[in-house]
């Protein structure tokens, strides 16, 4: 199963083995990773699971869809070119080793 590493704003890291097909958000929330709030449970409705994908993974992860793009504009922490909502990134073998930095502010 693919691994994903979460990096807290203070630099603390945790690596979790994700279920294939689960989102980066679900994997974080179910395992109690702090800083990913995900109030809406993954419906792309709240922008409280904002992460910055480490640049070398951006090609594999891809760009946000239109709705997510708009949501990111409204996110609490300023977006960058590597911003994604982690509920919209599904884990698979291809993304094994993925590293994401959790946004400073989510609400």
């Amino acid at each position: 199963m693919p691994n994903v590493t979460y990096i807290q704003p203070n630099g603390q890291e945790v690596t979790i083995e994700a279920r294939d097909g689960d989102s980066v958000m679900e994997t974080a929330v179910r395992n109690g990773v702090k800083g990913i709030i995900a109030e809406c449970g993954g419906a792309c409705a709240c922008a409280t699971c904002h992460v910055f994908v480490e640049e070398q993974f951006m090609d594999k992860v891809g760009q946000p869809g239109d709705l997510e793009d708009d949501m990111l504009d409204g996110a609490a922490d300023n977006r960058t070119e590597c911003s994604r909502l982690s509920c919209q990134i599904k884990m698979n073998a291809d993304l094994d080793g993925l590293r994401v930095r959790i946004a400073n502010e989510q609400v």
Partner: protein, 411 residues
């Protein structure tokens, strides 16, 4: 000895109380008891992604079983609390298996049950309600074989199920007794939009329509008989006509109730200072105006009110002032709502409903109090933020879509 907290009700609110207490470094014991065989899970996807086959049981878990163990949160599932006794110093809850759980403080997050119709034919196979995982599994088991789906009730859950049914190619009919859809929660403009949008997708919407009974053969539903005698063929019926708060335990404890809901203050305290409550089962002061008591059946309310419960337990100063928000996914339409439109005296439509991309802003005395947005995330976000900051956007300017709402914000 450190404090013992008992949470009755293992849903979104109960889970959040436990998590927020541990986040605040609460060092006492936390026990959560739920009737369902599962630990806390997400309910919203049951009528959306789960039904559409896009998520499974495990992905609905709010936290993994290991999380509760690591955080020293005891989760007891499959047991119902039948009695609570108070002694001088503490309380004891008794479950239906005879288990006794002593505690110092109690949090009730008992949620709500579906309102049942009590009409002829309700027990036929294929007539289903949707509230919990077991209901959703029953619906899903019968889903693929169903050709004619009838939804009773044009509220959020009914329209969400209708949207999935139609998308899956089923003949779909919504029977609603009111003159417009979502009549309890949105303005006529939004109601009319959803009627047309569902009709465009091929769903039949019957408004102002009462039905008499469910008809069936060999114990299985075959149709829904309307008051006039007409029968709509159905091999699957989903009834979504609202919920009723689960407050029997609260009643037993002698707590103040209003219309069946547990009355709490802005600190989430019930009429008994030893008992707190949050979520679908409660009624609380309006979080933004503090005028009147309201009931909010939503994930947002469960989460934000649970956080207030945790703070009150920790002895922190707190008040429930979170901006209410809500969403509903219906096929390609994402409805997002912020604020509460209670008592509105003006609406402004922004954007074009026919393109399924628009917002309805609600005003009271010239100040924005709420928004419904369909596929217009930025509008929704702008109003949600403004409401949180106590700001306004002038009603005579918000219809102009060439200007972003966030640029119109004023005090």
């Amino acid at each position: 000895m450190s404090e013992r907290i008992l949470i009755i009700g293992a849903g979104q609110a109960g889970m959040q109380i436990a998590v927020s207490l541990r986040d605040a470094e609460f060092d006492g014991s936390i026990t959560m008891i739920g009737e369902e065989p599962h630990g806390p899970y997400q309910r919203p996807p049951l009528s959306k992604a789960y039904l559409a086959g896009e998520s499974d049981e495990e992905s609905l878990e709010l936290r993994s079983p290991a999380f509760y163990v690591e955080n020293n949160i005891v989760v007891i599932t499959g047991e119902r609390v039948v009695d609570v006794r108070w002694d001088a110093a503490h309380g004891t809850a008794v479950t239906d298996t005879g288990r006794e759980v002593p505690f110092d403080k109690l949090a009730l997050t008992t949620g709500a049950d579906v309102r049942r119709l009590g009409v002829e034919g309700e027990d036929l196979d294929g007539v289903l309600y949707l509230r919990g995982m077991a209901d959703a599994q029953g619906l899903k088991q019968r889903w693929d074989a169903a050709k004619n789906v009838v939804v009773i009730g044009g509220g959020f859950i009914g329209l969400e199920v209708a949207a999935v049914a139609r998308k899956n190619g089923k003949t779909t009919t919504v029977v609603h007794r009111n003159t417009r859809l979502l009549s309890r929660v949105v303005a006529p403009e939004t109601s009319e939009f959803f009627k047309q949008a569902h009709e465009r997708r091929g769903t039949t919407i019957l408004l102002n329509t009462n039905f008499a009974r469910f008809v069936g053969e060999n114990g299985k539903v075959t149709g829904v008989e309307l008051e006039g005698g007409e029968v709509i063929p159905a091999d699957l019926v989903m009834v979504g006509v609202g919920v009723i708060p689960r407050s029997d335990l609260a009643e037993k404890l002698g707590l103040e109730l209003a219309n069946g809901s547990i009355v709490v203050d802005a600190q989430a305290r019930t009429s008994d200072p030893r008992v707190l409550a949050a979520g679908d089962a409660v009624t609380m002061p309006h979080p933004l105006t503090q005028e009147g008591q309201i009931v909010l059946e939503s994930v947002q309310n469960a989460v934000d009110q649970a956080k207030v419960v945790a703070k009150t337990i920790m002895g922190e100063e707190t008040a429930y002032t979170a901006v209410p928000w809500f969403w509903s996914d219906q096929d390609t339409m994402k409805l997002q709502m912020a604020g509460l439109n209670i008592g509105y005296d003006q609406t402004v439509v922004r954007g074009n409903p026919d393109e399924e991309k628009f917002s309805v802003l609600y005003y009271k005395n010239g100040r924005v109090i709420a928004i419904d947005s369909v596929n217009e995330v930025l509008d929704y976000m702008a109003v949600r933020k403004a409401l949180g900051a106590g700001q306004n956007m002038p009603a005579d300017k918000v219809a102009d879509t060439s200007v972003k709402l966030k640029e119109l914000v004023e005090d």
